[in-house]
Subunit: 269 residues, 2 copies
Protein backbone atom coordinates (compact mmCIF):
# COMPACT_ATOMS: atom_id res chain seq x y z
CA UNK A 1 0.00 0.00 0.00
CA UNK A 2 1.31 3.42 -0.94
CA UNK A 3 2.36 5.94 1.70
CA UNK A 4 -0.27 8.49 0.65
CA UNK A 5 -3.04 5.94 1.22
CA UNK A 6 -1.57 4.77 4.53
CA UNK A 7 -1.26 8.33 5.83
CA UNK A 8 -4.83 9.12 4.74
CA UNK A 9 -6.22 6.03 6.44
CA UNK A 10 -4.18 6.67 9.61
CA UNK A 11 -5.57 10.21 9.83
CA UNK A 12 -9.16 8.97 9.48
CA UNK A 13 -8.71 6.24 12.08
CA UNK A 14 -6.92 8.44 14.65
CA UNK A 15 -9.32 11.38 14.28
CA UNK A 16 -12.40 9.15 14.55
CA UNK A 17 -11.30 8.33 18.11
CA UNK A 18 -9.77 11.48 19.59
CA UNK A 19 -7.62 10.92 22.68
CA UNK A 20 -7.40 7.17 22.14
CA UNK A 21 -3.86 5.77 22.08
CA UNK A 22 -3.13 3.39 19.19
CA UNK A 23 0.09 1.34 19.43
CA UNK A 24 2.22 1.67 16.28
CA UNK A 25 1.94 -2.11 16.02
CA UNK A 26 -1.79 -1.70 15.29
CA UNK A 27 -0.95 0.08 12.03
CA UNK A 28 2.01 -2.21 11.24
CA UNK A 29 -0.41 -5.13 11.18
CA UNK A 30 -3.14 -3.22 9.36
CA UNK A 31 -0.81 -2.25 6.52
CA UNK A 32 1.66 -5.13 6.77
CA UNK A 33 4.43 -2.56 7.07
CA UNK A 34 7.60 -2.13 9.13
CA UNK A 35 7.56 0.00 12.26
CA UNK A 36 10.04 2.41 10.67
CA UNK A 37 7.67 3.01 7.75
CA UNK A 38 4.66 3.56 10.02
CA UNK A 39 6.75 5.86 12.15
CA UNK A 40 7.53 7.98 9.09
CA UNK A 41 3.83 7.87 8.11
CA UNK A 42 3.02 9.38 11.51
CA UNK A 43 5.31 12.32 10.83
CA UNK A 44 3.43 13.01 7.60
CA UNK A 45 0.06 12.55 9.34
CA UNK A 46 1.09 14.94 12.12
CA UNK A 47 2.25 17.53 9.58
CA UNK A 48 -1.01 17.27 7.60
CA UNK A 49 -3.16 17.68 10.74
CA UNK A 50 -0.95 20.54 11.86
CA UNK A 51 -1.61 22.27 8.54
CA UNK A 52 -5.39 22.19 9.17
CA UNK A 53 -4.97 23.65 12.67
CA UNK A 54 -7.63 21.29 14.03
CA UNK A 55 -5.47 19.41 16.49
CA UNK A 56 -2.26 17.45 16.87
CA UNK A 57 -0.99 13.90 16.48
CA UNK A 58 1.14 13.04 19.47
CA UNK A 59 3.53 10.23 20.30
CA UNK A 60 3.21 8.73 23.76
CA UNK A 61 6.39 6.90 24.81
CA UNK A 62 6.57 3.77 26.93
CA UNK A 63 5.17 0.26 27.01
CA UNK A 64 1.57 1.46 26.87
CA UNK A 65 2.50 4.17 24.41
CA UNK A 66 1.62 4.80 20.82
CA UNK A 67 0.04 7.65 18.89
CA UNK A 68 -3.10 9.63 19.44
CA UNK A 69 -5.00 12.53 17.93
CA UNK A 70 -5.92 15.40 20.23
CA UNK A 71 -8.54 17.85 18.98
CA UNK A 72 -7.73 21.53 19.01
CA UNK A 73 -8.32 24.85 17.34
CA UNK A 74 -5.97 27.69 16.38
CA UNK A 75 -6.29 31.18 17.82
CA UNK A 76 -7.33 32.45 14.40
CA UNK A 77 -10.01 29.74 13.99
CA UNK A 78 -11.26 30.58 17.49
CA UNK A 79 -11.58 34.24 16.52
CA UNK A 80 -13.57 33.29 13.41
CA UNK A 81 -15.76 30.96 15.45
CA UNK A 82 -16.46 33.69 18.02
CA UNK A 83 -17.32 36.18 15.26
CA UNK A 84 -19.75 33.74 13.64
CA UNK A 85 -21.26 32.82 17.02
CA UNK A 86 -21.65 36.53 17.97
CA UNK A 87 -23.29 37.46 14.69
CA UNK A 88 -25.80 34.64 15.04
CA UNK A 89 -26.63 35.64 18.63
CA UNK A 90 -27.03 39.33 17.72
CA UNK A 91 -30.19 38.64 15.66
CA UNK A 92 -32.91 40.64 17.47
CA UNK A 93 -35.62 38.05 16.66
CA UNK A 94 -33.98 35.90 19.37
CA UNK A 95 -35.32 38.21 22.11
CA UNK A 96 -38.03 36.34 24.02
CA UNK A 97 -38.72 38.74 26.88
CA UNK A 98 -37.66 38.43 30.51
CA UNK A 99 -34.05 38.65 29.35
CA UNK A 100 -34.25 35.26 27.63
CA UNK A 101 -32.86 34.59 24.18
CA UNK A 102 -33.82 31.78 21.83
CA UNK A 103 -30.60 29.84 21.25
CA UNK A 104 -31.76 26.26 20.72
CA UNK A 105 -31.08 26.36 16.98
CA UNK A 106 -27.45 27.31 17.73
CA UNK A 107 -26.94 24.83 20.57
CA UNK A 108 -28.36 22.10 18.30
CA UNK A 109 -26.25 23.10 15.28
CA UNK A 110 -23.62 20.38 15.42
CA UNK A 111 -21.34 22.19 12.96
CA UNK A 112 -20.93 25.13 15.36
CA UNK A 113 -21.12 23.03 18.53
CA UNK A 114 -18.31 20.77 17.31
CA UNK A 115 -15.97 23.74 17.02
CA UNK A 116 -16.93 25.10 20.46
CA UNK A 117 -16.20 21.63 21.82
CA UNK A 118 -12.74 21.80 20.21
CA UNK A 119 -12.08 25.00 22.19
CA UNK A 120 -12.96 23.24 25.45
CA UNK A 121 -10.95 20.19 24.41
CA UNK A 122 -7.88 22.39 23.89
CA UNK A 123 -8.53 24.24 27.17
CA UNK A 124 -9.15 21.24 29.43
CA UNK A 125 -7.14 18.45 27.78
CA UNK A 126 -4.47 18.26 30.48
CA UNK A 127 -6.73 18.51 33.53
CA UNK A 128 -6.78 14.74 34.05
CA UNK A 129 -10.58 14.61 34.21
CA UNK A 130 -12.56 11.36 34.32
CA UNK A 131 -15.92 12.66 33.03
CA UNK A 132 -17.62 15.47 31.19
CA UNK A 133 -20.79 16.44 33.07
CA UNK A 134 -23.76 18.60 32.14
CA UNK A 135 -27.37 19.07 33.23
CA UNK A 136 -30.15 18.44 30.70
CA UNK A 137 -31.04 19.68 28.09
CA UNK A 138 -29.61 22.36 25.86
CA UNK A 139 -25.94 21.79 26.67
CA UNK A 140 -26.02 18.04 25.95
CA UNK A 141 -24.79 18.13 22.32
CA UNK A 142 -21.93 20.45 23.32
CA UNK A 143 -21.03 18.30 26.33
CA UNK A 144 -21.27 15.12 24.22
CA UNK A 145 -18.95 16.53 21.56
CA UNK A 146 -16.49 17.70 24.25
CA UNK A 147 -16.60 14.24 25.84
CA UNK A 148 -15.96 12.72 22.42
CA UNK A 149 -12.92 14.95 21.82
CA UNK A 150 -11.52 14.23 25.30
CA UNK A 151 -12.27 10.48 25.11
CA UNK A 152 -14.27 10.72 28.37
CA UNK A 153 -17.66 9.32 29.40
CA UNK A 154 -20.49 11.86 29.43
CA UNK A 155 -22.62 12.26 32.57
CA UNK A 156 -26.02 13.88 32.11
CA UNK A 157 -27.63 15.14 35.31
CA UNK A 158 -31.42 15.00 35.11
CA UNK A 159 -34.01 17.46 36.34
CA UNK A 160 -36.25 14.69 37.65
CA UNK A 161 -35.27 11.24 38.91
CA UNK A 162 -36.26 8.67 36.26
CA UNK A 163 -37.00 5.00 36.86
CA UNK A 164 -34.50 4.14 34.11
CA UNK A 165 -31.73 5.78 36.16
CA UNK A 166 -32.00 3.33 39.07
CA UNK A 167 -31.30 4.78 42.54
CA UNK A 168 -30.52 8.45 42.38
CA UNK A 169 -29.31 11.29 44.56
CA UNK A 170 -31.13 14.61 44.27
CA UNK A 171 -30.43 18.16 45.36
CA UNK A 172 -32.41 21.40 45.33
CA UNK A 173 -30.76 24.66 44.35
CA UNK A 174 -31.87 28.21 43.69
CA UNK A 175 -31.91 29.31 40.06
CA UNK A 176 -31.65 33.08 39.67
CA UNK A 177 -32.62 32.87 35.97
CA UNK A 178 -35.90 31.19 36.80
CA UNK A 179 -36.23 32.85 40.24
CA UNK A 180 -37.17 29.59 41.90
CA UNK A 181 -35.87 26.43 43.52
CA UNK A 182 -34.94 23.80 40.94
CA UNK A 183 -34.03 20.17 41.30
CA UNK A 184 -31.20 18.02 39.98
CA UNK A 185 -30.88 14.28 40.10
CA UNK A 186 -28.02 11.92 39.31
CA UNK A 187 -27.91 8.16 39.08
CA UNK A 188 -25.76 6.50 41.74
CA UNK A 189 -24.27 4.43 38.93
CA UNK A 190 -23.24 7.45 36.87
CA UNK A 191 -19.91 8.29 38.55
CA UNK A 192 -17.14 6.64 40.54
CA UNK A 193 -16.45 8.39 43.88
CA UNK A 194 -13.13 10.20 44.09
CA UNK A 195 -12.95 11.07 40.41
CA UNK A 196 -13.10 14.46 38.68
CA UNK A 197 -15.27 16.03 36.01
CA UNK A 198 -15.28 18.89 33.54
CA UNK A 199 -18.60 20.75 33.65
CA UNK A 200 -19.99 21.94 30.31
CA UNK A 201 -23.14 24.02 29.89
CA UNK A 202 -24.72 26.21 27.25
CA UNK A 203 -25.48 29.25 29.41
CA UNK A 204 -24.69 30.78 32.77
CA UNK A 205 -26.24 33.81 34.43
CA UNK A 206 -25.70 33.80 38.19
CA UNK A 207 -24.01 30.40 38.20
CA UNK A 208 -26.71 28.69 40.30
CA UNK A 209 -27.16 25.83 37.88
CA UNK A 210 -23.41 25.36 37.37
CA UNK A 211 -22.86 25.40 41.13
CA UNK A 212 -25.73 22.88 41.40
CA UNK A 213 -23.82 20.53 39.10
CA UNK A 214 -20.67 20.94 41.22
CA UNK A 215 -22.68 20.36 44.42
CA UNK A 216 -24.41 17.20 43.23
CA UNK A 217 -21.07 15.84 41.96
CA UNK A 218 -19.49 16.59 45.35
CA UNK A 219 -22.09 14.26 46.92
CA UNK A 220 -20.00 11.53 45.25
CA UNK A 221 -16.65 13.15 46.08
CA UNK A 222 -16.31 14.08 42.43
CA UNK A 223 -14.29 17.29 42.08
CA UNK A 224 -14.52 19.88 39.30
CA UNK A 225 -11.52 19.86 36.95
CA UNK A 226 -12.78 22.75 34.81
CA UNK A 227 -15.95 24.52 33.70
CA UNK A 228 -16.75 25.50 30.12
CA UNK A 229 -19.76 27.66 29.26
CA UNK A 230 -20.84 28.61 25.73
CA UNK A 231 -22.40 31.95 26.76
CA UNK A 232 -21.97 33.61 30.15
CA UNK A 233 -23.99 36.67 31.12
CA UNK A 234 -21.91 39.72 32.16
CA UNK A 235 -24.38 40.38 35.00
CA UNK A 236 -24.48 39.62 37.85
CA UNK A 237 -20.77 40.36 38.10
CA UNK A 238 -20.46 38.20 41.20
CA UNK A 239 -21.39 34.64 40.26
CA UNK A 240 -21.80 31.58 42.43
CA UNK A 241 -18.75 30.03 40.77
CA UNK A 242 -15.63 32.01 39.91
CA UNK A 243 -13.49 29.68 37.82
CA UNK A 244 -15.06 29.15 34.40
CA UNK A 245 -14.23 29.63 30.73
CA UNK A 246 -16.86 31.25 28.53
CA UNK A 247 -16.73 31.50 24.74
CA UNK A 248 -18.93 34.62 24.64
CA UNK A 249 -20.12 37.17 27.19
CA UNK A 250 -23.71 38.37 26.97
CA UNK A 251 -24.20 42.03 27.90
CA UNK A 252 -27.41 44.02 27.89
CA UNK A 253 -30.47 42.66 26.10
CA UNK A 254 -32.61 45.76 25.40
CA UNK A 255 -36.15 44.63 24.70
CA UNK A 256 -37.28 48.10 23.62
CA UNK A 257 -34.41 48.95 21.29
CA UNK A 258 -34.26 45.28 20.24
CA UNK A 259 -30.51 45.09 20.66
CA UNK A 260 -28.30 42.35 22.07
CA UNK A 261 -24.83 43.11 23.39
CA UNK A 262 -22.55 40.12 22.90
CA UNK A 263 -18.76 39.98 23.10
CA UNK A 264 -16.06 37.36 22.57
CA UNK A 265 -13.94 36.23 25.51
CA UNK A 266 -10.45 37.21 24.39
CA UNK A 267 -8.70 35.46 27.26
CA UNK A 268 -9.67 31.82 26.79
CA UNK A 269 -6.07 30.64 26.46
CA UNK B 1 3.16 21.06 -0.60
CA UNK B 2 3.57 17.34 -1.11
CA UNK B 3 0.71 15.13 -2.24
CA UNK B 4 0.76 13.04 0.96
CA UNK B 5 0.28 16.15 3.08
CA UNK B 6 -2.44 17.54 0.81
CA UNK B 7 -4.37 14.25 0.85
CA UNK B 8 -4.07 14.03 4.63
CA UNK B 9 -5.30 17.59 5.12
CA UNK B 10 -8.16 17.08 2.63
CA UNK B 11 -9.31 13.99 4.53
CA UNK B 12 -9.31 15.86 7.85
CA UNK B 13 -11.21 18.85 6.44
CA UNK B 14 -13.83 16.79 4.58
CA UNK B 15 -14.46 14.37 7.45
CA UNK B 16 -14.77 17.20 10.01
CA UNK B 17 -17.86 18.37 8.10
CA UNK B 18 -19.68 15.25 6.86
CA UNK B 19 -22.22 15.89 4.08
CA UNK B 20 -20.90 19.36 3.33
CA UNK B 21 -19.98 19.98 -0.31
CA UNK B 22 -16.58 21.65 -0.84
CA UNK B 23 -15.86 23.02 -4.35
CA UNK B 24 -12.55 21.71 -5.72
CA UNK B 25 -11.56 25.39 -6.06
CA UNK B 26 -11.56 25.62 -2.23
CA UNK B 27 -8.65 23.19 -2.08
CA UNK B 28 -6.93 24.64 -5.18
CA UNK B 29 -6.67 27.97 -3.33
CA UNK B 30 -5.76 26.38 -0.01
CA UNK B 31 -2.82 24.49 -1.53
CA UNK B 32 -2.07 26.81 -4.46
CA UNK B 33 -2.42 23.80 -6.76
CA UNK B 34 -3.99 23.10 -10.14
CA UNK B 35 -7.46 21.58 -10.37
CA UNK B 36 -5.99 18.49 -12.05
CA UNK B 37 -3.68 17.89 -9.06
CA UNK B 38 -6.48 18.37 -6.52
CA UNK B 39 -8.67 16.07 -8.58
CA UNK B 40 -6.01 13.34 -8.37
CA UNK B 41 -5.64 14.05 -4.63
CA UNK B 42 -9.36 13.33 -4.26
CA UNK B 43 -8.93 9.90 -5.84
CA UNK B 44 -6.27 9.08 -3.25
CA UNK B 45 -8.39 10.51 -0.42
CA UNK B 46 -11.39 8.47 -1.57
CA UNK B 47 -9.29 5.30 -1.74
CA UNK B 48 -7.84 5.87 1.76
CA UNK B 49 -11.31 6.44 3.27
CA UNK B 50 -12.62 3.43 1.40
CA UNK B 51 -9.89 1.33 2.99
CA UNK B 52 -11.08 2.29 6.49
CA UNK B 53 -14.69 1.37 5.66
CA UNK B 54 -15.96 4.42 7.56
CA UNK B 55 -17.59 6.22 4.66
CA UNK B 56 -17.05 7.53 1.16
CA UNK B 57 -15.75 10.63 -0.59
CA UNK B 58 -18.11 11.52 -3.39
CA UNK B 59 -17.95 13.90 -6.34
CA UNK B 60 -21.05 15.99 -6.97
CA UNK B 61 -21.15 17.26 -10.57
CA UNK B 62 -22.54 20.61 -11.72
CA UNK B 63 -22.11 24.30 -10.97
CA UNK B 64 -22.83 23.84 -7.26
CA UNK B 65 -20.85 20.62 -7.21
CA UNK B 66 -17.66 19.59 -5.51
CA UNK B 67 -16.63 16.84 -3.13
CA UNK B 68 -18.08 15.66 0.14
CA UNK B 69 -17.51 12.98 2.76
CA UNK B 70 -20.48 10.80 3.66
CA UNK B 71 -20.19 8.76 6.87
CA UNK B 72 -20.83 5.04 6.68
CA UNK B 73 -19.99 1.68 8.16
CA UNK B 74 -19.25 -1.69 6.56
CA UNK B 75 -21.40 -4.76 7.16
CA UNK B 76 -18.52 -6.33 9.06
CA UNK B 77 -18.00 -3.26 11.27
CA UNK B 78 -21.76 -3.21 11.93
CA UNK B 79 -21.62 -6.84 13.03
CA UNK B 80 -18.74 -6.06 15.43
CA UNK B 81 -20.60 -3.02 16.73
CA UNK B 82 -23.74 -5.08 17.39
CA UNK B 83 -21.72 -7.79 19.17
CA UNK B 84 -20.06 -5.21 21.42
CA UNK B 85 -23.39 -3.43 22.05
CA UNK B 86 -25.12 -6.77 22.88
CA UNK B 87 -22.40 -7.90 25.27
CA UNK B 88 -22.58 -4.61 27.15
CA UNK B 89 -26.39 -4.79 27.40
CA UNK B 90 -26.32 -8.42 28.59
CA UNK B 91 -24.72 -7.46 31.94
CA UNK B 92 -27.31 -8.53 34.53
CA UNK B 93 -26.45 -5.64 36.87
CA UNK B 94 -28.36 -3.45 34.41
CA UNK B 95 -31.68 -4.91 35.54
CA UNK B 96 -33.60 -2.24 37.46
CA UNK B 97 -36.95 -3.94 37.97
CA UNK B 98 -40.22 -3.24 36.18
CA UNK B 99 -38.58 -4.39 32.96
CA UNK B 100 -36.26 -1.37 32.93
CA UNK B 101 -32.55 -1.59 32.15
CA UNK B 102 -29.87 0.92 33.09
CA UNK B 103 -28.40 2.04 29.75
CA UNK B 104 -27.35 5.65 30.37
CA UNK B 105 -23.65 4.76 30.47
CA UNK B 106 -23.98 3.25 26.98
CA UNK B 107 -26.13 6.02 25.50
CA UNK B 108 -23.61 8.57 26.86
CA UNK B 109 -20.55 6.65 25.60
CA UNK B 110 -19.71 8.77 22.58
CA UNK B 111 -17.34 6.15 21.15
CA UNK B 112 -20.19 3.64 20.78
CA UNK B 113 -22.85 6.23 19.99
CA UNK B 114 -20.75 7.63 17.13
CA UNK B 115 -20.70 4.24 15.44
CA UNK B 116 -24.45 3.71 15.91
CA UNK B 117 -24.94 7.14 14.35
CA UNK B 118 -22.85 6.00 11.37
CA UNK B 119 -25.31 3.11 10.88
CA UNK B 120 -28.25 5.54 10.78
CA UNK B 121 -26.29 7.90 8.53
CA UNK B 122 -25.75 5.07 6.04
CA UNK B 123 -29.38 3.97 6.32
CA UNK B 124 -31.06 7.37 5.97
CA UNK B 125 -28.59 9.37 3.89
CA UNK B 126 -30.72 9.47 0.74
CA UNK B 127 -34.08 10.20 2.37
CA UNK B 128 -33.82 13.94 1.68
CA UNK B 129 -34.58 14.85 5.29
CA UNK B 130 -34.33 18.41 6.62
CA UNK B 131 -33.90 17.61 10.33
CA UNK B 132 -32.97 14.95 12.82
CA UNK B 133 -35.50 14.97 15.67
CA UNK B 134 -35.51 13.35 19.10
CA UNK B 135 -37.24 13.81 22.45
CA UNK B 136 -35.14 14.55 25.51
CA UNK B 137 -33.00 13.12 27.11
CA UNK B 138 -31.17 9.83 26.61
CA UNK B 139 -31.25 9.80 22.80
CA UNK B 140 -29.80 13.30 22.40
CA UNK B 141 -26.11 12.35 21.95
CA UNK B 142 -27.09 9.69 19.37
CA UNK B 143 -29.41 12.11 17.55
CA UNK B 144 -26.77 14.86 17.67
CA UNK B 145 -24.11 12.58 16.20
CA UNK B 146 -26.53 11.39 13.48
CA UNK B 147 -27.38 15.02 12.68
CA UNK B 148 -23.67 15.79 12.49
CA UNK B 149 -23.06 12.93 10.06
CA UNK B 150 -26.03 13.92 7.89
CA UNK B 151 -25.21 17.66 8.04
CA UNK B 152 -28.73 18.37 9.33
CA UNK B 153 -30.01 20.57 12.18
CA UNK B 154 -31.02 18.72 15.33
CA UNK B 155 -34.46 19.28 16.84
CA UNK B 156 -34.90 18.34 20.48
CA UNK B 157 -38.51 17.98 21.61
CA UNK B 158 -38.91 18.88 25.28
CA UNK B 159 -41.03 17.22 27.97
CA UNK B 160 -42.10 20.57 29.39
CA UNK B 161 -42.45 23.91 27.62
CA UNK B 162 -39.55 26.16 28.69
CA UNK B 163 -39.49 29.95 28.64
CA UNK B 164 -36.24 29.79 26.64
CA UNK B 165 -38.10 27.98 23.83
CA UNK B 166 -40.48 30.89 23.11
CA UNK B 167 -44.00 29.94 21.97
CA UNK B 168 -44.45 26.21 21.89
CA UNK B 169 -46.94 23.59 20.75
CA UNK B 170 -47.63 20.71 23.14
CA UNK B 171 -49.30 17.32 22.86
CA UNK B 172 -50.24 14.60 25.30
CA UNK B 173 -49.70 10.95 24.46
CA UNK B 174 -49.95 7.65 26.24
CA UNK B 175 -46.68 5.97 27.21
CA UNK B 176 -47.00 2.23 27.65
CA UNK B 177 -43.56 2.00 29.30
CA UNK B 178 -44.55 4.43 32.03
CA UNK B 179 -48.27 3.48 31.93
CA UNK B 180 -49.38 7.08 31.96
CA UNK B 181 -50.11 10.13 29.84
CA UNK B 182 -46.92 12.05 29.02
CA UNK B 183 -46.38 15.44 27.45
CA UNK B 184 -44.19 16.72 24.65
CA UNK B 185 -43.50 20.29 23.69
CA UNK B 186 -41.79 21.84 20.67
CA UNK B 187 -40.79 25.42 19.97
CA UNK B 188 -42.67 27.02 17.07
CA UNK B 189 -39.29 28.24 15.84
CA UNK B 190 -37.75 24.77 15.77
CA UNK B 191 -39.00 23.57 12.38
CA UNK B 192 -40.15 24.94 9.02
CA UNK B 193 -43.62 23.66 8.00
CA UNK B 194 -43.65 21.29 5.06
CA UNK B 195 -40.24 19.80 5.75
CA UNK B 196 -39.27 16.27 6.81
CA UNK B 197 -37.36 14.74 9.71
CA UNK B 198 -35.55 11.58 10.67
CA UNK B 199 -36.57 10.47 14.17
CA UNK B 200 -33.80 9.04 16.38
CA UNK B 201 -34.34 7.61 19.84
CA UNK B 202 -32.50 5.38 22.26
CA UNK B 203 -35.31 2.96 23.08
CA UNK B 204 -38.75 1.90 21.90
CA UNK B 205 -41.21 -0.42 23.62
CA UNK B 206 -44.77 0.10 22.34
CA UNK B 207 -43.81 3.03 20.14
CA UNK B 208 -45.92 5.58 22.04
CA UNK B 209 -43.08 8.02 22.48
CA UNK B 210 -41.88 7.63 18.88
CA UNK B 211 -45.43 8.12 17.59
CA UNK B 212 -45.65 11.16 19.89
CA UNK B 213 -42.63 12.67 18.11
CA UNK B 214 -44.26 11.99 14.72
CA UNK B 215 -47.56 13.49 15.94
CA UNK B 216 -46.05 16.68 17.30
CA UNK B 217 -44.01 17.10 14.10
CA UNK B 218 -47.18 16.63 12.03
CA UNK B 219 -48.66 19.66 13.84
CA UNK B 220 -46.14 21.58 11.70
CA UNK B 221 -46.73 19.49 8.55
CA UNK B 222 -43.33 17.91 9.11
CA UNK B 223 -43.32 14.35 7.77
CA UNK B 224 -41.20 11.43 8.97
CA UNK B 225 -38.43 10.44 6.53
CA UNK B 226 -37.17 7.55 8.65
CA UNK B 227 -36.96 6.30 12.23
CA UNK B 228 -33.84 4.92 13.88
CA UNK B 229 -33.92 3.31 17.32
CA UNK B 230 -30.88 2.02 19.21
CA UNK B 231 -32.80 -0.72 21.10
CA UNK B 232 -36.35 -1.85 20.28
CA UNK B 233 -38.25 -4.22 22.56
CA UNK B 234 -39.54 -7.40 20.86
CA UNK B 235 -42.80 -7.05 22.80
CA UNK B 236 -45.40 -5.83 22.19
CA UNK B 237 -45.20 -7.25 18.69
CA UNK B 238 -47.70 -4.70 17.41
CA UNK B 239 -46.23 -1.24 17.90
CA UNK B 240 -47.77 2.17 17.35
CA UNK B 241 -45.37 2.74 14.48
CA UNK B 242 -44.41 0.08 11.97
CA UNK B 243 -41.58 1.53 9.92
CA UNK B 244 -38.43 1.79 12.02
CA UNK B 245 -34.84 0.55 12.04
CA UNK B 246 -33.47 -0.87 15.28
CA UNK B 247 -29.84 -1.77 15.94
CA UNK B 248 -30.73 -4.36 18.61
CA UNK B 249 -33.90 -6.15 19.68
CA UNK B 250 -34.52 -6.61 23.40
CA UNK B 251 -36.24 -9.87 24.30
CA UNK B 252 -37.18 -11.15 27.73
CA UNK B 253 -35.67 -9.54 30.82
CA UNK B 254 -35.97 -12.20 33.53
CA UNK B 255 -35.64 -10.49 36.90
CA UNK B 256 -35.48 -13.80 38.79
CA UNK B 257 -32.94 -15.61 36.63
CA UNK B 258 -31.16 -12.25 36.08
CA UNK B 259 -30.92 -12.76 32.33
CA UNK B 260 -31.36 -10.35 29.45
CA UNK B 261 -32.21 -11.57 25.98
CA UNK B 262 -30.74 -9.22 23.39
CA UNK B 263 -30.31 -9.82 19.65
CA UNK B 264 -28.83 -7.93 16.71
CA UNK B 265 -31.09 -6.77 13.89
CA UNK B 266 -29.65 -8.62 10.91
CA UNK B 267 -31.77 -6.78 8.36
CA UNK B 268 -30.74 -3.17 8.79
CA UNK B 269 -29.59 -2.81 5.17
Amino acid sequence: MKRTLRVGAIIKILTDSPGKIFPLQYFCEMFDAAKSSISEDMDFAAEAIDFTGTGTIETIPGAKGGVRFMAGITDEQLKNLQEEFCSRIKDSSRILGGGFLYTSDIMFDTGLVRRIAAVFARKFRDRGADYVATVETKGIPLAAMTAHYLNLPLVVIRREAKVSEGSTVSINYFSGSYDRVQKMSISKRAVVPGSSAIIIDDFMRGGGSTKGIADILSEFDVTVAGTGIAIASKTPDKKKISDYTAILYLGEVDETARTIEILPNNQIF
